[in-house]
């Protein structure tokens, strides 16, 4: 059961039960919907971008512990960052959850590292990345909902 605790660790469960920045952002400059057709998870990501900086970010939706916690942790991680930094954070995060541990770069991802155990669960990786894909879609102002498929 040890590896289970690694996945469902306290920070994940905490962010699942009490998701941060869980609201509609009224003055959002960017917004996108995300959908994981495999499990039916749906998410809305709202952004307020000013001068190339993500001033504010929020999300709403219904999903599993991994997708909800990942979205919540993401909002904390990206708020106040420049768009280039957000992009590079996404790439590092994506590597962490998709690539073998040895290949992971030695970048400190802070609280986001709570999601590292997801790499052992190939069918759940999309749960962890849905909010990030939706964030990207919002930045790119895509009309179509972001999808994990």
């Amino acid at each position: 059961m040890s590896d289970l605790r690694e996945i469902y660790q306290d920070v994940i469960l905490d962010h699942y039960r009490k998701p941060r920045n869980f609201a509609v952002l009224e003055q959002a400059s960017h917004h996108a919907k995300g959908h994981n057709p495999l499990c039916g998870d749906r998410i809305d990501v709202y952004l307020s971008v000013e001068d190339g900086v993500l001033q504010d970010v929020s999300f709403q939706g219904a999903g599993c512990a991994i997708s909800t916690a990942s979205a919540s942790l993401m909002t904390e991680a990206v708020k106040g960052k420049g768009l280039d930094a957000v992009q590079s954070l996404f790439e590092t995060f994506h590597r962490m959850v998709t690539q073998p541990e040895d290949d992971a770069q030695g970048v400190d991802l802070g609280k986001l590292e709570a999601l590292a155990g997801v790499r052992e669960l190939p069918v759940r990786i999309k749960c962890a990345t849905l909010s990030w894909h939706t964030l990207q879609a919002a930045l790119e102002q895509q009309d179509k909902p972001a999808s994990t498929e």
Binding site: M1, L4, L13, G63, I66
Partner: protein, 425 residues
């Protein structure tokens, strides 16, 4: 489950009074996949409604067919082709007997239930549909009994009518009957619901349809592993099943069709084996069932499916039904004793399928944590999104039992759910 399903006497000839029993431990030893461990725990396989494990006799029969008796069918004059043809056509006779069809030509080999339904939608229904005609299904259908009809509606201007279910997951028979009208050209329903376990009263439904001259099709994917079939006594026009849910190979299934209808139908696909003669000006089609089996069929799949049908028939559906009813009762009690568990689908007549929600925990987390305890369940919408919408949930976890499951495994499931609650506490 006997009252509302198509039950005939057990092939072993036992009467109900003898209460036939299964030697479950002996049966389990015949399924090699069941003896493995997952994440260090003995596997508890409760995803049978998605696909069932295979017994050694089926695995051996498939291996023998490839190793000793393999060639193409209906073509060669040589001995191997003859042996393969004999085995393939003998498999058809087994399928006829399993379904209770009157004629062997009424058993068509298809890829599975999905292809069976598509074949009927395109080959039988499409040529006779006019704009405004109606096809009746129900809320509890699998996507495979929704989408093929939607497609034929788009092609012809026909309309899809959906009979409602109640909050236990029972079909509203009154509402269904009200939907059957002058323009109804097909009534297509699931026999046993994959997501809810509901066993539909197919005899009553056929009576309703026949009174009005409406053709009927049943999706028997979930029924075939659990109850004896007798399509002739049932009087339906089409009935289709999948081999892989019946402990047989993937990619093979059977469509039963009433001979008169098959004879009048257009072919589903064109190619070899489905023709009598071909010139560039015209082609004369073969007779059923060959008219519907274009190209080289899944020869060994059919042979393996026949072995699976023999295997299940030898166990006896009375014994299977009695064991599964006990498992359903026991597992239902264990799960209902957990206050945070909500069952989705509590029909009066149910197969051993339990869809459930764990309060505060998403179905996918339920699935992942159970898997780490060696317990395989399905988590998701079960290819039945309209049912999920009806119950207002995005996904459920589903434990579906087969005759090789045990009460101890139901205990493991209940204990596994308690473990989830511990983690999420």
């Amino acid at each position: 489950m006997s009252r509302s399903s198509t039950i005939r006497k057990s092939p072993m000839g036992q009467s109900l009074g003898d209460s036939p029993t299964l030697d479950v431990e002996a049966v389990r030893r015949e399924f090699p996949a069941l003896s493995q461990t997952i994440h260090g725990h003995p596997l508890v396989y409760l995803d049978n409604a998605a696909s069932a494990q295979k017994p050694q006799p089926v695995i051996d029969r498939v291996a023998k067919a490839y190793a000793e008796d393999y060639s193409n069918v209906h073509r060669g004059v040589h001995s191997l082709s003859q042996r393969a043809t004999d085995a393939y056509e003998s498999a058809r006779e087994t399928a006829r007997g399993f379904l209770g069809a009157a004629r062997v030509e009424e058993a068509l080999f298809v890829r599975g239930t999905t292809e069976g339904i598509n074949l009927v939608a395109q080959g039988f229904l499409r040529p006779q549909l006019a704009p405004g005609d109606e096809i009746v299904i129900s809320t509890m259908e699998h996507h495979s009994n929704i989408v093929p009809w939607q497609m034929v509606c788009q092609q012809t201007g026909a309309r899809l009518k959906v009979a409602p279910i109640d909050d236990r997951g029972d079909l509203d028979l009154g509402a269904l009957e009200d939907l059957l009208g002058e323009r109804t050209r097909m009534l297509a329903l699931v026999h046993i619901s994959n997501a809810l376990g509901t066993i539909n009263p197919v005899h009553d439904i056929v009576a309703m349809a026949r009174k009005r001259g409406i053709p009927t099709l049943f999706d028997g994917a979930q029924a075939a592993p659990h109850c004896a079939l007798d399509v002739a006594a049932l009087g339906c026009d089409f009935y289709t099943l999948s081999g892989h849910k019946l402990f047989g190979p993937t990619g093979i299934g059977v469509l039963y069709g009433r001979y008169e209808l098959l004879e009048a139908m257009e072919p589903y696909q064109g190619g070899g084996d489905m023709i009598r003669s071909v010139t560039f000006e015209s082609t004369e089609y073969n007779v059923p069932p060959h008219k519907f089996e274009a190209g080289t069929p899944h020869i060994v799949g059919a042979i393996g499916l026949a072995a699976a049908m023999d295997y299940v028939t030898n166990l006896g559906f009375e014994a299977i039904a009695a064991h599964e009813a006990d498992l359903l009762d026991y597992a239902t009690q264990r799960l209902q004793a957990i206050p945070q568990v909500r069952l989705i689908g509590t029909a009066e007549h149910k197969a051993a399928v339990i869809s459930f929600l764990v309060e505060g925990v998403h179905a996918h987390d339920v699935g992942t944590i159970l898997d780490h305890q060696g317990i395989a369940v399905r988590a998701g919408h079960h290819c039945a999104q309209p049912i999920m919408d009806f119950f207002g949930v995005a996904a459920t976890a589903r434990a579906s039992f087969a005759f090789y499951n045990t009460r101890q495994e139901a205990d493991r499931l209940a204990d596994g759910i308690l473990k989830i609650l511990e983690i999420f506490d």
